[in-house]
Amino acid sequence: MVGLAPLPRAPGPPQNGGVTEFLAKTVRRAWTVGVRGLVQAVLSQAACIPLFVVTVVSIALLPVGAGLFLLPAAVLATRALADRQRAWAAEWSGVDVPSPYRPLPPAGSPFRRVAAMLRDPATWRDLLWTLLNVPVGLLLGLLPAALVVYGVEGVAVAPWIGHVATFGWGPFWMLDDWGIVGSVGSIALGALLVVLGAALGEGILKGHALFNRSLLAPTRGALAARVRELTATRADAVDASAAELRRIERDLHDGAQARLVALSMHIGLAEELMKRDPDAARGLLAEARAASGQALTELRDLVRGIHPPVLAERGLDGGVRALALTLPIPVDVRIGLRGRTDAPVESAAYFAVAEMLANVVKHSGARRAWVQIEQDPDRLVLLVGDDGAGGADPAQGGGMRGIERRLAAFDGTMAVTSPPGGPTVVTMELPCASSSPRTSPSSGTG
């Protein structure tokens, strides 16, 4: 101790506060541990048992059809509880339990949704957890709670009413046989149990958190599957961006670049002819101006395809509204965003909506279309619908498939409902970290 600077202390009496501080800390700890343990014990019975039963019953009811509607609810409820446990593991015990779930297709087709849930191994591990946690959660939750409650009873209840009523169990409760010694002993033993609960409780709860991690965290297999999936979507994204760059290169080479060459030739010629044949020179200059106009138009179209200027200026909201105004059919736009999202997500969302609206105009024969965009804290939901002929099928390739791949690079998903005769509704979901309400991207010029 000599030579060490005194550690900073919490405000309070520095010396004789030691005992009080220890007591206060123990009581606080005992209280926290007791409540947490009790919550875990109650949940292990009141939540895990029903969830396990309902899930198993819905799986059994799948062939009859009722399970199609019951299972998603049961699985989502289980996931909500599991997510709570993951958060508690980190918050209470510092145990990191990552979430293993694969992205689900948006609500719409219950078949695809249920199929995706059943294919996800995390669903089955969750189910196993709801079963095993019934005894494990009860034991590991009740232990710290019982130590604390039992101890408190020994200190605060038993010695004071021991001579009035006789309790049936425990070392404290034959107090009338022991008189004052018994009461003092009960208080001492009770206090010891509270201290023990406070000291061991966190460890026991951590044990429970570790048990949870063993079932609720992603397995090696799941991680490997995720790596495969990311490799595939990354390859798609790289391919797509390479193809995009090739297209841009070709457009510039054959378009604007060629026109600028022609332009400078015309101007050069006009320069030559200025003195000898002013009329011919004037004609060439007029042609040069026309060529520059065409070059600018081509560049403008190209820029729109890369990143529409209005998207840069107004974000997804203004971009989609401006897009809707350019279409030959009325488009009802409803957008609820919380500030601007990250530029790549914004761009992917814009082009997804643009592609779907282009499909509506080209193929559906619709008289009206609508776009709805909502933002949760962690995802963007895009809906594009029309009153057209229906029968749209993303499996037939083309633009829809391309958009699906583009969304997959962001872990985004797409679902299409398009019965023959319509109406068609395309639902797309994009995970997005809600960024600060930023209005000023810092690149680009007028």
Binding site: T297, R300, P309, R321, L325, T326, L327, S440, S443, G446
Partner: protein, 214 residues
């Protein structure tokens, strides 16, 4: 005629200054960012402002926002907005107060110097100069609808030029016909679309744009 110019690219800014001065305009100030533009517009109250949509510091729609803010303070302040791209959304925002003195053109249009200067003068006089690209968007949108179907191709052409904000005389010279012929076309158009006939050029343009649903 006193002009304020807002353009952040020095090359284009100098070009605009030279061009407008060559045609007898007095450039009272040329700025390169949004906040300075708003200050210049409210301080000088020029006869017309030529404004680029995208300006520093945010490089979004700074110029447009400053122009709209200035018009709220100085109602009817004539503003000609230039941009590398035209959006119906922006045209709607500019025209929404219905007080005229609005121009919205692609930057390319500057290359046709005569037309451009004409547009600046028209806007300064409280008229409208709307880019053919915006008008084309408006016309495609309504093309399938009954009243527009009833117009002859020539009448549709005249309607487009009216929507751009041109006078009968200007439309006549653009289509190489007489003023009288254009007068007949416009009367037919107004009758077919059920719009009230107005002698005032400016009100006529606004009626057409309102009909097309800018």
């Amino acid at each position: 005629m006193r002009v304020v110019i807002a353009e952040d690219l020095a090359l284009l800014r100098d070009g605009l200054i030279r061009l407008l001065e060559a045609f007898g305009f007095e450039v009272v100030e040329a700025v390169d960012n949004g906040p300075s533009l708003l200050r210049a517009l409210t301080a000088h109250r020029p006869d017309v402002a030529v404004v680029d949509v995208r300006l520093p510091p945010t490089f979004t729609d700074e110029g447009l926002a400053a122009a709209l803010a200035a018009r709220r303070e100085v109602p009817g302040l004539p503003v000609l907005v230039l941009s590398q791209h035209v959006e119906r959304l922006y045209a709607r925002e500019l025209l929404t107060d219905g007080s005229g003195g609005i121009g919205y053109l692609l930057k390319d249009r500057v290359s046709d110097v005569g037309q451009f200067v004409d547009a600046v003068r028209r806007v300064a006089a409280g008229g409208t100069a709307l880019d053919p690209d915006v008008v084309a968007q408006l016309l495609t949108r309504r093309a399938r609808e009954e009243p527009l179907q009833m117009l002859t191709p020539r009448e549709r052409e005249v309607l487009g030029l009216m929507a751009e904000g041109r006078s009968n005389a200007a439309i006549a010279s653009a289509l190489f016909v007489t003023d009288k012929a254009i007068g007949k076309h416009t009367n037919n158009i107004f009758a077919k679309l059920g719009l009230p006939v107005s002698e005032d050029d400016n009100r006529r343009v606004l009626a057409v744009l309102a009909y097309l649903g800018v």
